[in-house]
Symmetry: C2
Subunit: 341 residues, 2 copies
């Protein structure tokens, strides 16, 4: 890979100057007293030789690599990982940095390995990402340098970037109230584990808090709350069937994520009910299926790309200590309507 590239010495020789001079000119050092003509000659020589600095040599000296480590627990399982990475990639490129990606798979041995691998490569900083918004403790080994938590917070008060799930909860509730839904709103996706253990999820509790707050302010209480062991379609399906078997049919359903909503749609379809004429549905995440459903599903989008970007910005440009809350925009779609008269 890239043999016989011109070196700084080649450039200097061609410009008839010393390596020192060439280095200073190319790095745009202030306060050097090299003549305009010397600058000229160095630039010309570098251009002619197609000079590109050897970054290994540079970082040996400077201890900077223009490389950021992106360490995550699991990159593959959720389709959102790509967006997180893409946002980070974009922001990194803008700052002339590059991303080194590793995965711990939630395994301590792999984590150890991943940390060593990135430390050995002298990365300039680490983005420690979680695929589900949660609290975690970062391995002590990486605390030697800059770290930003992505989609996670830590007890250590490290800089972090998380979605504004509480705000999303408020938006969702407000959207229903606005349409006139009041006393027949049901919630699908309560989950004690997710709500009570911040190491499992921070989203569940925050979303619930947002919903409650807005409903309380309007003096509305939920018609029903369904607990689900997981936030998967089958659980949404079961919950929805449960709701439909009760005497009072809800006018609107809030699902804690789009996959639950997908399951709810299936149950509604089987029951011969129509969204949104019979029942409105609104949800969280903006998974691609939300737009594919019929009718398309209103939801609040996890701003993963934004978050990835913010993490890099925080890491390289520095920033506030308290968690950066990235807003979750409401996607108004066809699954919303006023309650049936």
């Amino acid at each position: 890979m890239g043999r016989n590239r011109a070196t700084l010495a080649d450039v200097a020789r061609r410009a008839g100057l010393s390596k020192t001079a060439a280095s200073m000119v190319l790095n745009g050092r202030e306060g050097t007293r090299l003549s305009a003509e010397a600058h000229q000659r160095v630039f010309a020589a570098a251009e002619e030789l197609g000079y590109r600095p050897n970054l290994a040599a540079r970082s040996l000296r400077t201890r900077k690599t223009a490389t950021i480590a992106f360490v995550s627990d699991i990159v593959a399982t959720t389709r959102f990982a790509g967006d997180l990475i893409r946002g980070a990639l974009d922001a990194a490129r803008e700052r002339d940095h590059v991303l080194l990606i590793t995965e711990t798979q939630g395994d301590a041995t792999f984590e150890q390995y991943a940390i060593e691998a990135v430390l050995d490569r002298q990365v300039d900083g680490v983005i420690y990402a979680a695929m589900a918004t949660r609290r975690l403790t970062v391995p002590a080994a990486i605390l030697g340098g800059p770290v930003v938590l992505l989609n996670a917070t830590s007890p250590d008060g490290l800089p972090s970037v998380v979605p504004d799930d509480e705000g999303a909860g408020r938006s969702v509730a407000a959207a229903l109230l606005e349409l006139g839904h009041r006393d027949a709103i049901a919630l699908i996706g309560r989950n004690r584990l997710k709500e009570d253990d911040p190491e499992v999820s921070l989203a569940a509790r925050a979303r619930l808090r947002g919903i409650r707050q807005t409903l309380d302010e309007a003096n509305v209480s939920l018609l029903a709350e369904c607990f689900c062991a997981e936030w998967l379609p089958e659980h949404g399906y079961a919950a929805m069937r449960g709701l439909l078997s009760k005497p009072k049919r809800p006018s609107a359903i809030i699902c804690m994520n789009d996959r639950l909503a997908f399951g709810a749609y299936q149950a509604l379809g089987e029951a011969g009910l129509t969204v949104p004429e019979d029942i409105s549905v609104i949800s969280f995440d903006d998974d691609p299926i939300a737009a594919w459903l019929r009718p398309s599903l209103a939801t609040t989008a996890l701003p993963h790309e934004q978050m990835g970007r913010r993490a890099v910005e925080l890491l390289l440009d520095g920033g506030a200590a308290e968690p950066a809350l990235v807003p979750m925009p409401l996607r108004r779609r066809r699954s919303l309507a006023p309650p049936a008269a």
Copy 2:
């Protein structure tokens, strides 16, 4: 990041030997005549100091970085990207390598930038990945070192890894024939652009060829073939409605991907038809929605994780010149049944 680490010189000093000796011992060099005792002392010293070599210094000399570049056109748009990366990540870790990820976004400027960034970092090889299986031409600049194409082939005959779409086509057709479907099989997702332009897709043509071949051998011809402008749910929905409006109802549907099948399910649901009792459905990709649908969708899985893994293996361990075809396993699920009597 990682200041004050022990250096090789520290290890050597502590072991009472030269840097040369320490280096040779730690690298397990054969044919050196260092005593067993010297080995011992070096290992002990390295262990005690928690020595880890500085990879920048090493690669300055050796021109090896134990780093692989993963350059792709678009990492985020498909949910499969994560699997590709994960497979590559796993295989890389097993070989003590790490992945540098960049994205070209199909933009020439970004591509140029990405190539330079990875070349500057002296990566040991490049995996050039496409998110849709297709033919592409790789930028000349990276041809200086090892390159493997992932999910793509090139006219230059570079080593490449692609899914066996033709085999998948055969599996899909065979699965239907096996159940007794013969003269009422319809196909959703024909698309001239995808079939005719290898730079857009290689999958469409290969899948079609596989299907045709197996049906031909059984002397069966397709009842209908629906063209779709894109392989998205809405197009599958429209195609399915079209099919249902015709006099002869199909007994089974082959969809060119799961998203089309998702759309087809929606149309079937609306028409009051049941899968698989009224109509069987089978498809390609094994998108997560396939398992979430009711009934779960039989499909052939894109082996993205395997592919990512193979790419790294090919890059580092070397391998055949012809494209490595990774089999697409058939996932038998609930959407299949014998034709209604």
